[in-house]
Amino acid sequence: MKNRILVVEDDEGIASAVALNLQFVGYDYALFDDGRKAAESLEEDHAYDLALLDIMLPGMDGFELFGYMERYSIPVIYMTAKTDSASEIKGLRDGAEDYIVKPFDTLTLMVRIEKVLRRTGRLNTVYRVRDVELNSETRAVTKGGEPVELQPLEFDVLLLLLKYKNLTVTREQFLSEIWGYDFVGETRAIDMKIAGLRKKLDLGDAIKSIPKRGYRLEER
């Protein structure tokens, strides 16, 4: 079951980029460019795990929209260009889960979304690619329904690739998230784990090498 995210943002450029990001890594989403329309839509459909709200919106501003989100217990992350601390404090005091200031980067947005979903117990812990399934809670991996034995590090590499499906995971990301910041050894270690995964799970063509950057798990 994919996590479903409501995005309310009136700037088309930002909205489309966020939507593409969500879609790539495997979230479902609904997009609105007007606060009032978003609020009205909730009556019919409010099955969202998270809302990403701009603050300065036509129709109804993000702070007002927050009231509707609360009614349906949808956690909120504000995305806004407002940098003054007054609106940040207001946003968080009212009960928003997080606050992200434009311009932000993809990775920040993805990490914050995952953290809020995990904190509110809504994070989907089952990731899929092709016939491979990974459960991040039980640390079980199956292929075609059959359990597959993975080394702990192989499991972590696969989880990271799945979390950022269709996005490039850089060598630096692998090292800092799995091996820890202290690791100064060969990045060959990453290549070895990738080779193991490709072989054990038959993902040779799905895990793509991105020269000089890292690896990308592709599935569209």
Partner: protein, 477 residues
């Protein structure tokens, strides 16, 4: 040392000196006077003694009298007039003496040559005046002396000196105290002025010094207050400017961040995401749009900033201005299906041609945006008459609550619609800056659902109040 202390010390010093000199002179004069009087008394006493003695001896003594007779007669005559201080000397013999001082030793008879001589002498503690004169009795010279004790006189003089010093000191002290008091009082307005200056320096720009009386200090306080008022005005002006600039910078920041956020996200997607060709093209197109948008925003901002300088103006005929505006605005309006009607009184305006055209085009563009797309009656009227440029539409109008804000940078009454129509939120702010640079006033009247009229009043002084303050709202003709 404070000014009043310095002035007090100086005045006190002068006072003490003057008092001391005057007292000294007075004292010397007074002492001289009483000593002179004492001497006079002594002389009178001596004179009376001498004259009486001489007369009596001349009357009784005969030249034939033997020396023994003469001696006793002389003693008899002298004793008749003598008192305790009288002394008679004959040659080396003291004929008559009743006290211990022998005046002949101090004032020898040889020194007595005609008239009375007085010599002040000191005898132990006592002060004496010795008066002497020579009297010839029967051819024999006699010395007649009077010894007068003037210790009392000297004592009185000394007492007087003490009194003088005491009185002078007391007077000087009293004077100095009074001077200090008065100086201190005189310096009080200066201290109040200094206190006011310190408070103003500390940020209390509303503080003023108290002005009392008509002296130089009061004049200084009045001038000081004038200065303080000027400072206060200037500070308020600067604060207001700073506040507006802060708002403006906040607006600029916000306007720059949104396209930057979009560009950053799309760039990252292009760099790291598994995108197909169509998605890539769409992302690149977005980035290109945002770049153009930022470029436009930068140009407008630059114009807005440079407008704060002086602008050159020239005489431009109303018809020429209208043609300029038509050339620039008509393509925009036609593209939206909006008709442009123009009219003028054929007069002349003193304006910067480019800027005024840009203002009028912007107003016409705004007017055209007041219509929904496809409105068959969409029209904009541009009239130049009596130094007034008027742009009128019968579109949706401006909500009353938005009207006071429309000239603020980045204010958009309907943000999503403005953005879709390519508005930056700076058009009217720029327009107002252009009007301000011409010393003109922009006046907007609008009725929601009926339309908007914007007038640029270039010759403010020639309009009557009615035209400026209460224009009727635009309605269909």
């Amino acid at each position: 040392m404070k000014l009043w202390q310095k002035a007090s010390a100086l005045c006190a010093a002068v006072l003490v000196t003057v008092v001391a000199v005057c007292s000294g002179l007075l004292l010397l004069y007074a002492q001289r006077t009483i000593l002179d009087r004492a001497e006079q008394q002594t002389m009178e006493r001596q004179y009376a003694l001498t004259a009486s003695f001489e007369t009596m001896t001349g009357y009784y003594l005969l030249s034939s009298d033997p020396a023994a007779v003469r001696d006793s007669l002389v003693r008899y005559c002298f004793a008749k007039f003598a008192d305790a201080g009288s002394v008679l000397v004959h040659g080396k013999d003291t004929v008559f003496i009743q006290q211990e001082v022998n005046p002949a030793a101090l004032l020898p008879m040889e020194a007595l040559t005609g008239g009375i001589q007085v010599l002040p002498v000191r005898n132990g503690e006592a002060r004496l005046f010795i008066a002497g004169s020579r009297v010839d009795v029967g051819g024999e010279p006699y010395g007649v002396y009077t010894v007068q004790d003037v210790s009392d006189v000297y004592r009185a003089a000394r007492t007087m000196t003490g009194m003088f010093v005491l009185v002078s000191l007391a007077g000087a002290a009293l004077g100095a105290a009074l001077i200090t008091l008065l100086m201190r009082r005189g310096a009080r307005p200066l201290e109040a002025l200094a206190a006011a200056a310190r408070r103003i320096a500390g940020g209390e720009y509303g503080c003023r010094a108290e002005v009392s009386g008509g002296d130089e200090i009061a004049a200084l306080a009045a001038d000081f207050n004038t200065m303080a008022a000027a400072v206060q005005d200037r500070v308020a002006e600067l604060e207001d400017t700073a506040r507006r600039q802060e708002l403006f910078i906040g607006g600029v920041t916000h306007e720059f961040k949104t396209p930057l956020a979009s560009m950053l996200l799309h760039t990252q997607l292009l760099r790291s995401a598994n995108m197909d060709r169509e998605e890539r093209d769409r992302s690149l197109a977005r980035i290109e749009d945002q770049c153009r948008w930022l470029e436009k925003l930068t140009q407008t901002l630059l114009k807005l900033l440079t407008l704060r300088q002086d602008i050159p103006v020239e005489a431009v005929s109303a018809d020429a201005l209208i043609e300029d505006v038509r050339a620039s605005a008509e393509p925009l309006l036609t593209a939206r299906g909006v008709a442009l009607y123009t009219d003028s009184d054929g007069g002349t305006l003193t304006v910067n041609r480019d800027l005024m055209r840009s203002l009028a085009v912007n107003l016409a563009d705004n007017a055209a945006k007041a219509y929904d797309p496809g409105d068959p009656d969409a029209s904009v009227w541009l009239t130049v008459r009596d130094g007034c440029i008027e742009v009128l539409d019968r579109g949706r109008g401006i909500p009353p609550e938005a009207l006071p804000h429309i000239f603020e940078p980045f204010y958009m009454a309907d943000k999503s619609r403005s953005k879709k129509q390519g508005g930056s939120g700076l058009g009217l702010a720029l327009g107002k800056a252009i009007a301000d640079a011409h010393g003109a006033k922009i006046e907007v009247t609008s009725v929601p659902g009926q339309g908007t009229r914007v007038r640029v009043l270039l010759k403010l002084q020639v309009y009557d109040n009615e035209l400026i303050d209460s224009p009727p709202p635009p309605v269909g003709e």
